[in-house]
Symmetry: C2
Subunit: 403 residues, 2 copies
């Protein structure tokens, strides 16, 4: 094939940047590599038998429904059980507020299509999920960062931005609970302030909540969606994205969106033209699995394992780097966010880490502009407990080599 | 929830039109309804045992690969077997020309994102697949219809449009083999003319080919992709979309795109921000099924059944309407496209048909502008052979009522 074709790509795709995380995947094929990089749950914990049994049962009982096209909104059986699950999390939802998506990321993609035009202002907490930045860049958004700390998004800073009549954002994006990449959790006081703020300014707020169930110390804080019971005027402006990827299995690609019916209707149309429906077989298998009541025990296993890994990682980092390393202990989720004194740019450290056979994600890819290059993200979920100490020792050798 | 929210929807979604076909789905829950409407394959023919066995085997042998996140480009095992399948169809493809998509429609959606901006001109044969029109409208395209007849797109008419310097289209879209909705197949002479034309004008041509394998009279004509062996200068400009939806099962949502590496790379980035990957378990199950060599026998069963149904439908229509009905017999696929003398608008006939408990799709939804309202689409794939005569009798009563 000749390569001199000059395709009329849209501007956002003329010089596209791939995901900074997925660029690291090529190193994962090295069996000696220890990876703190991807946001992968632990495959060792997958409930393979439970998922296999549920999928075999629904294929046997409802083969045509499993294998035929399904409703774009989602399989009725799954929509019902997801509504129960949300009610159990303190957030009852009506059926016309609910859309099954192929992973929660697809929900954000459809929302961006419904609300974001080239040049639209979108506010995101910084640091933030890199694929969200990628989706917004593809949509041509004018992305602005809102600073955050270990209590989550700085709501006072957000308020100042919302008061600026030149901005008028289309969307605000946050991962308020056990955030990716920061591990931070929005405080209760800020949650209420945030809801009141979006209701007053009539701006759509996206609560991306894939990690909320992975709480290490008792129940997680109520989601923004659940808190709308106290701030009902915020409910039409809140879009809640959730997923089974971090609790059951990412390969099923089952997520869901809870939003006002008008927003769901637009997302359904985006889904009609994209993948038409999430595979009905996997939806029915997930519904069967959830109905059988297997998820709570599965989540409990994950929470116990991830908490141990977090503790192991934190202890190993403290031992290896002492006062040079700064991080706050995440209260759930999969990520530890750190900065090392004496390291100006974690990206420059990465080649040395790869040489030592350990992977992490440099912080720069999680920022819009004000990149804090000393930062980096360590995922503790998919690494074996036994590998964590060795991985940190390799990181320490990489820092020495870089020094 | 209050309903006075005024969301800043993008223009294409401000007054969205849902799919004209999916609007009919609500009537399918009536068990007495006979449907010639949706483009559904026959669920009675699904190889449930074969699919169940393949999926159980891969889950047993490679559980982590099935349930973890997978490569955005597609599972290596499936990509290899799809490359073999394409080679068997006379179109060898390299791995960097191939992307697994969640149904072939997702491939078109990603292509539209890569190449279509608001106002971009896109040429589509008329009548054409309604979801393609919907995707292009969402992208803000300036859609222009190219006339067609029973030999497919009128390539001379296309040539005149390409010669118009005010148009400069970003894309041309065609379903050249057993088309949806027309059932038409592009002639061999036009195929070669079309390839030479797009190479000369350096414009991307989308060959949507979900039906090619369902050929009733021997082998189908070579795809445009295969014919690029004779017109190699066209290959960089051709995008081929294919699917297992009409042959294996739509619920698996397995499609693929073959295109120049530069185009595939852009589609991969669109997929990274949308659904990240097609469910790896279903990809591996499909790969296992294809490797086991079960697809040809499955397709043979479908071809035999659909050919009988086409013949039954054609005979019943002739008997019921005589000279009043005009249609050409499709040589494959799932659709018969007809017009009835004395019917000015098939959409006005639809309520009477629904009252008689029979469904079809009025033709208007398949046109950009020059709607031939007397036309309508009948799918013969999912109806039982026994129901076809009764369905046509109901249609005849509906025509009487409408008269």
């Amino acid at each position: 094939m000749t390569s001199d074709a000059a395709y009329p790509f849209v501007p956002a795709l003329r010089n596209p940047a791939g995901s900074p995380i997925r660029e690291l995947f090529k190193y994962l094929s090295d069996p000696g590599m220890i990876s703190f990089a991807g946001g992968y749950p632990s495959a060792a914990l997958f409930d393979v038998d439970g998922i296999g049994a549920a999928s075999a049962a629904v294929l046997r009982e409802r083969p045509a429904e499993c294998l035929q096209y399904g409703a774009t909104e989602g399989a009725p059986a799954l929509r019902q059980v997801l509504a129960s699950l949300m009610a159990g999390r303190g957030a009852p939802v009506a059926q016309d507020e609910l859309l099954v998506t192929s992973g929660s990321q697809q929900g954000f993609d459809f929302l961006a299509r419904a609300l974001v035009e080239p040049g639209s202002v979108v506010l995101v907490e910084e640091p933030t999920y890199s694929a969200t930045l990628q989706a917004l860049r593809l949509a041509g958004a004018d992305i602005r960062g809102v600073q955050s700390d270990h209590d989550g998004m700085d709501v006072a800073a957000l308020e100042a931005m919302l008061a600026d009549p030149s901005l008028r954002p289309r969307l605000i994006y946050t991962v308020p609970t056990f955030a990716n990449p920061s591990g931070a959790t929005l405080s209760s006081a800020r949650r209420l302030q945030l809801l009141k703020l979006v209701a007053r300014h009539r701006v759509v707020l996206v609560e991306d909540d894939p990690y909320g169930a992975l709480s290490f110390d008792g129940a997680p804080p109520p989601s923004l969606l659940a808190l709308c019971a106290s701030v009902p005027e915020a409910r039409p402006w809140l879009v809640h994205l959730a997923s089974l990827s971090k609790t059951l299995a990412p390969g099923l690609r089952i997520g869901w969106m809870v939003a006002a019916p008008e927003i769901v209707r637009r997302a359904v149309i985006a889904k009609q033209v994209s993948d038409l429906c999430t595979p009905p077989w996997l939806q029915l298998a997930a519904a069967q699995y959830l109905e059988a009541g297997r998820l709570p025990a599965q989540v409990a296993r994950e929470v116990a394992a991830y908490r141990d890994k977090r503790d192991q990682l934190a202890a190993a980092l403290g031992q290896a780097f002492g006062d040079r390393i700064r991080f706050a202990l995440p209260a759930g989720g999969m990520f530890l966010w750190a900065a090392l004194d004496g390291i100006d740019d974690a990206a420059a450290l990465l080649p040395h880490a790869i040489a030592e056979k350990v992977l992490f994600v440099p912080g720069a890819g999680f920022y819009v502009e004000q990149r804090q290059r000393a930062t980096f993200r360590l995922s503790f979920a998919s690494t074996n407990l036994a590998q964590i100490g060795e991985g940190v020792a390799r990181l320490a050798r990489a820092v020495e080599r870089a020094g």
